[in-house]
Symmetry: C5
């Protein structure tokens, strides 16, 4: 059975990995074609090497990496470093790692914030599935202004 | 037959990959000397590893990577990360990946914006063709102030 | 016996490595399952390669890298470079290196500052232990707003 | 015969590569000990991989990479990315690639601007020659405040 | 005999490499256990690959890389790129390269500026020696607020 990796953090204030798993369990072939292997690391700067280990040691074909940058300006620098690490991990393994970051300043309303987390995690879990098993879903949406966490923007109207 | 890769995103609000393909189909040897292999990924931070996979798994000799950074300041950081990834993917594969980014703030006029997308995608598709099959076209334009998406600046007048 | 690496700097004004070792010595299996190998380097930009050498030459399974950026703006740039190096060292070795940085401007009160150093170093030493020998401790805290150096934030309340 | 690579861009508004070649042709051993191989790429973000290919595929012992960042703030970000790429290309090949960038905002006077281009390209072409064939020239100038494109600053006077 | 590499630039306005060599010559084992191999490159962005070549081609066990960023804001960006390169060179070779940068704006008084250069170069030359042959000197100073170029800060007083 193929493996989809899900990696998240103790730092986040929402269990984003659980949302990703919920979505993956609704995808065709779950438990037959693919299974989920999960890890949790301390913070988002630990995601990159954790994802790389899922790929190398657990044979994950793709990884969903979920993190939550804080509100301080130093957090933005750390988020940048975490992102660069995830980028590099992808290139060293030639494997997609979908970065699912929700910044704590994206909403001050707890309900809306939770919804952003859920939607972004689920949409990217679906994207991971498409990248592995159904690429036409992606191709059919090329240039369509698709978003995760907020509503789609849609294509340019001329 | 050799392969030219075209990779674009669902995030963009214009189907930039289609413009690149249109141009490539007008190049000498299309369908005989080279064919096009296309991919679509969720967002522009997924382009780098996607392009690397086109090179490694689909034997692309060159890749045109098309993305569209949003208007927010966080989008500029992401664009920087996406660009660094594309740079690294090139260096790890010793293969050109032409980065074709149109920033959403380059024009507020939808018609002009669409034109920038079309021109930049087509010009870089032509550049990709030249890099593979007709390098003298590039050499003859060294230092000539050539642009993509807007008109050429031309060489310095002293 | 497996090795946990601890690396710190002469630049720091607190002996952070000692706090990390204190915590590791209270972990189950210390001296039986794992031992500690320590190094000290001049400054935090020397941590990355030092940690990599602990992994390669001393067979460390995980490393705790402790540093202390100064208060000047140039120190922030250096901290960024040091962090990128630690990120890269992790990815080149597929081994976790926990970055434990206390910025000198986190508190002006010496007692509080010392406490931050102690708590952050000890919490991350514990995290290192968990990553090696008790991953469920991490999984059970996914999305729980766990912090090091200050009190936990806790999960989002909706 | 050994190869010195010269790579420049269509984007630049001055033919900087030609200045580099002019200088190299005046160096001892031109056409006997070494020859010049030239490439032109679309923009300066294409220089890094182009230089790496000159080293790997054309066996260049050293490369002179000439580019011209534009005046906009986005151009500064791109220049940074281009420079990081050239740095990485050097480290992956253990070969010097001399980055010769003239920023379009270095002078508003076309004549002076052209002179900067010429001087910087020629001085770095000479540096490339020295790095390959006459290292004492460099050693004798250690700490002497040598510049390219503007006059030398000279050593500190105490 | 083992090799310690010293690499500096023509750009600097002080011969920093000479200070480093002076210090190394006072270290136990000079000329018996270790010798010095020196290189000079044009500017500080050439130090990284130059240091890597000293390690690979001249078998240097450690390198001292000395550079001097200018006063302009563009120089700060270049210094950042140079530092990232030195970081990467270390990680690709698993060898320490001590970055010894004196920024031209650290002092406007030529005598003080020269003193900073001398002290920083010599202290780091000593650090290089300790890293190779006497690691306890470093361990005994962990968390002691050691500086190079200015006086030591000393450990936190609580």
């Amino acid at each position: 059975m193929e493996v989809i990796g899900v990696i998240d953090t103790m730092f986040a204030i929402v269990n984003m990995g659980e949302f990703a798993r919920e979505e993956l369990k609704t995808c065709p072939g779950y438990g037959e074609k693919f299974e989920i292997v999960s890890e949790t690391v301390p913070g988002f700067k630990d995601l990159a090497v954790g994802a790389k280990k899922l790929i190398e040691e657990r044979k994950a074909k793709i990884v969903i990496a979920l993190g939550m940058p804080g509100k301080e300006s130093i957090d933005q620098v750390c988020a940048h470093e975490a992102s660069q690490g995830i980028m590099l991990a992808q290139l060293l393994t030639s494997t997609h790692i979908l970065e699912v970051f929700v910044h704590q300043n994206e909403s001050n309303d707890p309900k809306e914030f939770l919804q952003i987390c859920e939607q972004r995690a689920k949409k990217h879990a679906r994207n991971a599935y498409w990248l592995l098993y159904d690429k036409d879903q992606l191709k059919n949406r090329a240039g369509m202004g698709i978003r995760q966490g907020f509503g789609d923007v849609g294509p340019l109207k001329v």
